[in-house]
């Protein structure tokens, strides 16, 4: 999902603030039924099913984790096999490629790369770290990490029209509705 860019869209989006997680959840469901797709919700803690209600289905992080694990295990085993063949030291007539002795490092590297891919992938897919975001310009947005719940409809949504979207958000009876401007310079 791409965020609206300053050079193509006049505003960033409309944000509605709610007091409770249930209000946000029902608001998201209604907005989805209304046909909005490019939207996001903000909450102080993860809420079960909220992302799904937004239409977000993304299994890339688990797949990346699996891929990282396989990659790490292959790397670990391959590294040990390669180095033993590259500089063979035969001790006590034991085989150069000693699978039991290699398992520990193979396992450790599998874990290491699975976690690196998982967390690195999570950050990259979330476009983090990001030092600024148009929402941070809003006075009340700091409450998103405290006790408030927000629904954002982005301006590049097909059904976005400033006044009608505002009227729709008002029908959800939020605490307040704010227009979010772009705060970055147009490129």
């Amino acid at each position: 999902m791409h965020e609206p860019l300053p050079r193509t869209e006049p505003v960033f989006g409309l944000l509605a603030e709610f007091d409770g997680a249930d209000d946000l959840m029902s608001g998201v469901r209604k907005a989805h039924d209304e046909g909005f797709r490019r939207m996001d919700a903000f909450s102080p803690f993860p809420i079960e099913g909220l992302a799904e209600a937004l239409g977000h289905r993304d299994m890339r992080v688990p797949w990346l984790t699996l891929f990282g694990g396989i990659f790490g295990a292959a790397l670990g085993y391959g590294m040990q096999a390669y180095t033993n063949l590259d500089y063979p030291i035969i001790v006590g007539g034991r085989p150069l490629i000693a699978a039991p002795a290699f398992m520990l490092i193979t396992f450790e590297l599998m874990v290491l790369f699975a976690v690196l891919f998982s967390i690195g992938g999570m950050l990259a897919l979330n476009r983090l770290p990001r030092l600024h975001h148009p929402l941070f310009d809003l006075e009340e947005f700091h409450l998103a990490s405290n006790d408030k719940f927000f629904l954002l409809i982005l301006s590049n949504d097909e059904r976005f029209e400033r006044d009608r979207t505002r009227a729709f958000l008002a029908s959800l009876k939020p605490v307040r509705i704010e227009l979010i401007e772009h705060t970055e310079e147009p490129v």
């Binding site: 919700a41 909220l50 590294m79 874990v111 690196l116 983090l128 030092l131 929402l135 990490s145 405290n146």
Partner: protein
């Protein structure tokens, strides 16, 4: 419209307030400075002992032949074992969905990080030429040789490196949403910049949370077998050696459970101290102390099985060298370490059968202290009593830790305490968003 009443919403805000006030308006400044000054002295002692060690070599320690491993490796195992409880509490309880973990996981993970750093320093310092420790890494070098991957020392390198990296990442992605909460509440410019950078621009987006959750849970799922593998690996260092008293199949589970045991003891101690010092009585409740006490008791009894199995296998197998080592442990020169371990680990522990004892912070702290000392005795006992007398009378010897070994150990406590105190002072010690999430789900299921 909201069926969430105002008072419930206030509770979310109250949780944020209670947790974020600690880094922003630290309550017990004087006490913190006293502890921090003391920790800095310990750290100074660490640097002095390391300087002496680097200047004169490992000869300043009491290690010799036959006891070529002494405090260095005993402390390595001890510190790493303490670290494991943090990961277990955090990861295992996350996976089984125990909500009460939320009040403990953050500082337990921080304890893990700093304990692993201390542990990781020991094998490096124990090397004759510690500045060449990177030779353990497989990099193309001018000598065209590679590390010996069939050696447990190289396993150590990979195990500790992986464990440290995974613990740091798990802890950090777990703290990012709370750093964002502190950032949003910071008033001073310096604090805003510090927490702003550390929070990575986190804004609580539902999509972010969804991916974050996938990643966090997967990392937790991988971290649990990692703990088992890391400590089993250490025990393989022993069990793979043909030394009577080490060459035992019970070692991997015995070490892993002993690690969890000592770690829970330290978590219990830290929980009691932080709860008292920072006024966190609402978040770390007697129920948490009760559960920690139960964990401590359970892992302690499982460790007790390890003690029993060691004696049993020695007697049942009937090997003369095994029996000799057993006798040396029970009544030899270092019998104080065996009986010290047996006493400090198990006698005070039995008090935890009583609920009132588990819920009493002072008693829980004292039992935790006793267990951490007892587990230190155990690691010492396992090392020294097996080495000082092996098959040949000609290779019998004694081991006495030298002044600089003790100095390094004392200083290492500073390496643990200084970053831990900085963590307590500047970062949210309890996971605010997870407490809120637990509150939310509880109210929804009720």
């Amino acid at each position: 419209m909201s069926h969430l009443s105002t008072s419930e919403r206030d509770r979310y805000a109250g949780i944020t307030e209670e947790i974020t006030r600690i880094p922003l308006h630290y309550p017990a400044r004087l006490g913190w400075w006293i502890c921090f000054g003391f920790a800095l002295l310990l750290l100074l002692l660490f640097f002095v002992s390391v300087t002496v060690l680097f200047r004169y070599g490992v000869g300043v320690w009491g290690n010799n032949i036959p006891v070529n491993w002494g405090l260095a490796i005993a402390n390595y195992i001890w510190f790493l074992g303490i670290g494991h409880a943090g990961t277990l509490i955090s990861a295992m309880l996350l996976l089984v969905g125990a909500h009460w973990r939320n009040s403990l996981n953050r500082f337990a993970e921080a304890m893990t990080l700093f304990a692993v750093v201390c542990a990781g320093l020991y094998p490096i310092l124990h090397l004759g030429r510690p500045w060449l420790f990177y030779w353990m890494a497989p990099y193309p070098n001018t000598m065209t040789v590679w590390p010996q991957f069939k050696s447990p020392l190289t396993w150590d390198f990979f195990a500790v490196l992986t464990y440290l990296t995974v613990s740091v990442l798990f802890w950090y992605i777990g703290i990012v949403p709370d750093l964002a909460a502190v950032r949003d509440r910071a008033k001073r410019r310096g604090a805003q910049i510090f927490y702003g950078l550390a929070a990575l621009g986190w804004r609580g987006s539902a999509r972010h949370w969804a991916r974050w959750r996938q990643s966090y849970r997967l990392t937790a799922a991988i971290a649990v077998p990692l703990v088992v593998s890391v400590h089993s690996e250490i025990s393989l260092l022993f069990a793979a050696g043909p030394i009577p008293g080490w060459d035992s199949t019970v070692f991997p589970p015995y070490f892993v459970l002993g690690a969890a045991f000592s770690g829970f003891a330290v978590v219990a101690m830290i929980a009691v101290v932080l709860r008292h010092a920072l006024g966190l009585g609402d978040l770390v409740t007697p129920r948490h102390l009760d559960l920690l006490g139960k964990f401590l008791l359970a892992t302690g009894l499982m460790t007790g099985y390890g003690y029993f199995a060691e004696v049993f296998t020695a007697l049942y197998a009937g090997g003369i060298y095994e029996k000799g080592t057993l006798l040396d442990r029970l009544s030899g020169q270092y019998a104080w370490s065996y009986w010290g371990a047996a006493f400090a680990n198990f006698v005070p522990l039995q008090l935890l059968w009583w609920r009132r004892v588990r819920r009493n912070p002072v008693l829980l702290f004292l039992i935790g202290l006793s267990v951490s000392i007892g587990m230190w005795f155990e690691r010492y006992m396992l090392l020294v009593t097996a080495l000082y007398r092996d098959y040949l009378v000609s290779s019998w010897g004694e081991y006495h830790a030298s002044f600089w070994e003790w100095a390094l150990y004392t200083g290492m406590l500073g390496v643990f305490l200084v970053p831990f105190l900085l963590f307590v002072r500047f970062l949210p010690v309890i996971s605010a968003f997870e407490v809120k999430e637990a509150l939310f789900t509880e109210e929804h299921h009720a």
